[in-house]
Symmetry: C2
Subunit: 779 residues, 2 copies
């Protein structure tokens, strides 16, 4: 057998996903309709905290066309939604029921649902539901005093503790310490497509379907089955197109379970499409944390220890992620630096806000901001340039693999490979760092407020434990790859087809990739944690290799030659040495191996193969962000002028896809750094319920992003050397922009909170100018 | 491992299929609707034969709500529908295109289709289509002179020739010969549910769906894919409930392809539901044959040779079956008798009638009528009782397996096992034959016209070449069996679940059987030729056995014991010797073997198994029919008073299902023997286009049917000894009733044509009475 060609892998072939999207033929949840469907509308709590005394649906039910209305009593037997990711115990009392029982805990908490013949009637019905709620005091800050949600349920469900080395000794012996309080605001994925779900029950075959699935269809299938007391095989979830995932979309929410239950009980398909206000108050929030962090530093700026205590604002319930975000925060905080001793204590606190979950680079956007702020403070403390301070603390390439002595998501954190200093050099060179400094100096002389900032980070990707891919070649020679991964816009069809095409020896265009359909494959892990290219990609390679071997063995027999001389080129089996010799088509092999076919007696029938890839450890890509910002002295507005991301992904299957991931990730990172913030008043009323209040960055706010994708450190954990590329664009944006703003203001350590808002800068500048020119106030 | 229990197999457990049917929750093709669907109406030729000069759709297209209308020009690139079954070559010119090109060949031939927003508009549109057809002479009889349909296309596409032994010599040396001309009318399955199909195209995933599939979804999938130039994997067929199959429903017809093509072209789901008139002129007809048969007989009534020349009236085109029916006619005609020399020449003739296909017991209902009429004639010729004549000619049980030296459907006819004389004895005893004769004698003395008739037959079943079944146990312990077989009312879910339950050791109720869904399993043979219980049943047993072994091996490891001591009882793995010992649930094994589970590293992941059963030869069940009829001297009406079927099926997995098959089969056989007949006038205009003209027997016309299901001759071709039970109830009805009528009339050899109609009998009786009492005419 000849070596596998790389006709597609490593090249930016066109995305398989784009054809329907560009032609306007994508089918999003709202585009899915079934005859005779009902429409569901959720009645949500108008108060942030209260005793739910009664919910009266009689006026709703009196509206013609309203077919049913439920309160907690109607769904009391359905258990709360369980955790998918967390490894902590003792959290189960904090789970959310699909309708609130006797307390409401945030504005938006579902207290009833109404089902009607059209969405307008459903909305009318929901407005006619009368609830009696006795308002209770709210808890709006995670780092204040502990409150109580209901008798016996403290607002601190758990404390995360991760530690290694002798932290106390390090601080005792330190040349200096730095001590910071830093916080990250509350923001989230906010995909352009709101959530949606359509439940449909087929009583004939006793099959429950949910359309509009995303991210983790198989886990959600299992959980819905369990909650409704059904075998998993009797529930099918179907993924359509997904208008943005970002961690938030596709988690299992109360609404998903409600449409399924209603479809079964009411005997009609049930459709629910979230409106934007609902999305902003009901779908997972993320990020909000406050850190009290300190570092013990040697005279040369080498960090001896980090000690962090942080508070994670989880909102009203623990959702499917459980403690994933605060756990990742602690595990990933040390980043690319050596840090000989480390302690993190994370308080998971409940507040009367929308519950939290993951959002692109969860726990890393936060911890990178905190860590890189700390590095800047250390640099200031010891009076050494912060780039140099980074160099002195970076883990060396000869120290790889580097065991962090921490664990997260059930895996040990072992940094598998990397040349952090090498990438720093490349990034500085790509940004023309020295010339940039000179340029900035000149602009400052001309009176501009301009500065540059840099941040470094380590990402995690390729979470196991396993992934399965099945490939079948049909009698027409068509190749179908079935995977339990999900497509959330990241290009899974493209990447899987690239790997299959090269490994098997067929044309990229001839491959069809099926994903997100639980009736097509028994198991699947979905798409999260930058895992798909690594796990599904390797499973695809394994399945393709097996299928190639099976194909060539059969071909050798049919062609009466030896396997060793055969190759598959563009779907045709040829004699590799004699290109003009006899050849045979894949369709002929498929026909020969069909059950009952001429060769089916003495071998496994069907031209199919399954590949399963296992992995106990994650892979760790890494990168450098460099931002240049200009600040308007009049308005305090911050303009990101340039942005560069250098990112080592081990091996880029499709470089354009990696670049796309980076650029999109930067845009979201800028949103969190400068614009997006879920704000509440002191009664817990959400203030960010429209796009006029919750500020999403538009194309106008996002600069051109330069990308430098490197392949210097392939992962030793998989044969292709893959690491995930999904979150590196987001990870360090807050950190790099904060450093750039500090630099522009020429006030190190100014920025301690994200997002950085113009009014804050304006206030600072105005204080400054007052201080400089006290007479001006009089004029 | 302990022996497999038989808790379910062999018992009449309740049918899995009945719950939705009895609760009114069945979903037939007409019950399937999709949002925004179009409705299709076929414009059919009003003339039996003609040149299609033009078809004008402009008036149809002018009707608001009519969205499209096509003629042949719009579908010219779609190839004609191909053959599924035939092994004859040279027939391709006789295939049907999905719309008629330049000739129409029967009343009902599709010449255009109209698509509209509702079915009424579609019908209005169809009526507005104007066709110009130049009428041509029609061919209405298969045994007349050869005609021509279009230039160069003779009406005899093929001649079937099967022969063994020295026929000429046998006739030369015979003691006597008998010579008969016999014919069978034109009738068909006529299921209570007419045909229907809904095409739906998903441009996003490039998936074409057809709902309303039946019988052979996988073959139809492949054929539709081929005709539309798509890979098979991009086409999914879905079977719903089926309101009667009988061979006719589920074959691929022009309408199925048209809805698929339209769904793709028009971008909306397209639904077509056949009305009853359409069904009677457009769906496959069957049966109609005329035989000129003779036998060479020894003095003792032993048949030395049979020589048959027959004419098969195929109608206007060769459809998916190709030559199956006339081929089976020739292959199965010798039945249970030795017949040392045999020759059959079958002329497949096209006529200007609805095209023909299979109908329950195809080729056997016809050939059994012909053969058993011949036996009766031989008995009369040599003056020996016809039961005794049968005994003298039956193949002995010690001659089994008996190679017939004929082949059909690509297999050699080797009668695998049987005790024909033994079953004859049992049937006569069950019918109280001697007492019956005495009873008849007494009733005749009282002036009644009453008689009994008997017929014997051999069926065929279990056609290979193979069948695949996949079984998976999910993490909740649910068992899912996926098969490519189809459910046409025969009880496939029940039988498969019975076999799986006993083999695997789980509860019958815990098993879900998935069938008729081409997206769930790559290959499937469907349901025809009484093949499912044999082929799918054995594949189920193989898959269950593999899954049991896999389960016990894992369990032994988990329980730290040896496989030999373990058993699975009602879904729990227990120590067979110590019932109170430790036990483990199937769900635990499934969890342990899940990909990424604790034991997934070193063995094949997933608690699943696939079974493939191969068979090169068919199995041959056999039976005896006994009918008692009374004739009204005034009206000629024939009343079937009693009916008994003795049938050896080798092994009855579910005796009640076998009895149900027999009783239903007898009802259809009586329809063909006494009532049903597709008649045409001499211009080819069909006269049987409503249920007032085409007489279906109702419960009133069907007597109680006694059944004697025996298991004396298990098939040696599969471990369970199975033979198929689907067609034995129909096979010999025409033959037995004809004999009984002859006996009632006391005129051997009277009945030479089916159906036997009252007016015929009335005419006979009136001729008789005139002959006896010539004076009466004057009065």
């Amino acid at each position: 057998m000849t070596a596998i060609r790389t006709k597609n892998v490593g090249r930016s072939v066109l995305r398989k996903e784009d054809r329907p999207l560009l032609r306007g033929r994508a089918v999003f949840a709202a585009d899915i309709n079934f005859s005779n469907q009902l429409h569901m509308r959720v009645v949500r709590s108008p108060l942030a905290h209260g005793k739910l005394l009664s919910v009266d649906t009689s006026a709703a039910l009196a509206i013609p066309g309203v077919r049913a209305a439920w309160t907690f009593a109607d769904v009391a037997e359905i258990p709360p939604i369980d955790f998918r990711m967390t490894k902590l115990t003792g959290l189960s009392a904090y789970r959310q029921t699909i309708l609130a029982k006797d307390r409401v805990r945030y504005v938006g908490d579902p207290i009833a649902v109404v089902f009607a013949d059209d969405p307008y009637l459903a909305e009318d019905g929901a407005e006619a539901v009368i609830s009696d709620i006795e308002e209770l005091p709210v808890v709006m800050h995670a780092d204040g005093a502990l409150g109580e949600f209901s008798p016996g349920l403290p607002t601190e469900p758990a404390v995360i503790h991760k530690e290694y080395g002798d932290v106390e000794a390090a601080f005792r012996d330190a040349y200096a310490t730095v001590d910071l309080t830093l916080s990250i605001g509350r923001h989230s994925g906010v995909p352009i497509e709101t959530r949606g779900a359509i439940g449909r029950y087929d009583p004939v075959h006793d099959i429950l379907e949910m359309h509009g699935a995303a991210k983790v269809p198989h886990w959600n299938r299992d959980q819905i089955a369990l909650m409704l007391g059904r075998p998993s095989a009797s529930v099918h979830l179907f993924e359509g197109h997904v208008g943005g995932g970002f961690g938030i979309r596709g988690e299992l929410y109360p609404e998903d379970v409600l449409v399924c239950l209603a479809a079964m009980r009411l005997g009609r398909p049930v459709k629910w499409i979230e409106d934007r206000r609902e999305h902003l108050i009901a779908a997972n929030h993320s990020r909000q944390q406050t850190h009290h962090i300190r570092a013990a530093v040697a005279r040369d700026g080498v960090i001896l220890a980090i000690d962090d205590e942080y508070f994670h604002d989880q909102g009203g319930y623990m959702r499917t992620h459980g403690a994933t975000v605060p756990d990742l925060t602690a595990a990933m905080l040390p980043g690319p630096y050596r840090i000989p001793a480390y302690r993190a204590r994370g308080h998971i606190r409940l507040t009367n806000k929308t519950p939290g979950g993951t959002y692109r680079a969860p726990g890393r956007y936060e911890s990178t901001f905190v860590r890189e702020r700390l590095i800047e403070a250390v640099a200031a403390k010891v009076g050494v340039d912060s780039v140099e301070i980074r160099r002195r603390n970076l883990i060396g390439r000869d120290e790889m693999p580097f065991a962090r002595k921490l664990d997260t998501l059930g895996t040990e954190v072992i940094l598998d490979s990397g040349d952090y200093a090498g990438l720093l050099d490349k990034a500085l060179a790509a940004a023309n760092w020295d010339a940039l400094q000179e340029q900035i100096r000149k602009r400052r002389q001309a009176g501009e407020l301009v500065g540059a900032g840099l941040a470094m980070f380590v990402e995690k990707s390729g979470l196991g434990p396993s992934d399965t891919v099945r490939i079948a070649i049909d009698a027409e020679g068509g190749v179908e790859v079935v995977t339990g991964a999900a497509s959330v816009g990241q290009g899974v069809e493209t990447v899987v087809a690239q790997i299959c095409a090269d490994t098997l020896g067929v044309e990229y265009e001839d491959i069809r990739v099926i994903h997100g359909q639980t009736n097509r494959i028994e198991r699947g892990m979905g798409a999260f944690a930058s895992r798909v290219t690594v796990m599904t990609g390797e499973a695809t390679r394994l399945a393709s290799t097996k299928l190639r071997e099976k194909t060539l063995a059969m071909a050798a027999e049919l062609m009466q030659t030896s396997v060793a001389t055969l190759d598959i080129i563009d779907g045709v089996i040829v004699d590799a040495e004699r290109r003009d010799g006899p050849c045979i088509k894949l369709s002929d092999i498929a026909t020969a191996l069909a059950p009952g076919g001429p060769f089916s007696d003495d071998r496994e029938p069907g031209l199919t193969a399954e590949g399963v890839f296992h992995s106990d450890h994650m892979t760790y890509p890494y990168g450098v962000h460099i931002a240049v910002v200009g600040i308007s002295p009049d308005t305090g507005a911050i303009n990101v002028e340039r942005y560069l991301v250098a990112y080592d992904v081990g091996k880029a299957v499709n470089p354009t896809l990696v670049e796309g991931q980076i650029v999109g990730g930067v845009a979201q990172g800028i949103g969190g750094a400068l614009y997006e913030d879920f704000l509440y008043d002191d009664r817990g009323e959400p203030l960010s319920v429209t796009f006029a209040d919750y500020l999403m960055p538009t194309a106008r706010e996002i600069p051109h992003v330069d990308t430098l994708v490197t392949e210097d450190a392939p992962s030793p954990l998989n044969p292709m050397g893959l690491k995930g590329a999904g979150e590196g664009g987001t990870n360090a944006v807050g950190a790099a922009i904060a450093a750039a703003i500090d630099d522009a203001l020429r006030r190190p350590g100014t920025i301690t909170r994200l997002p950085v808002l113009p009014q804050q800068i304006r206030a600072l500048l105005s204080r400054d100018s007052k201080a400089k020119d006290p007479g001006q106030e009089v004029a």
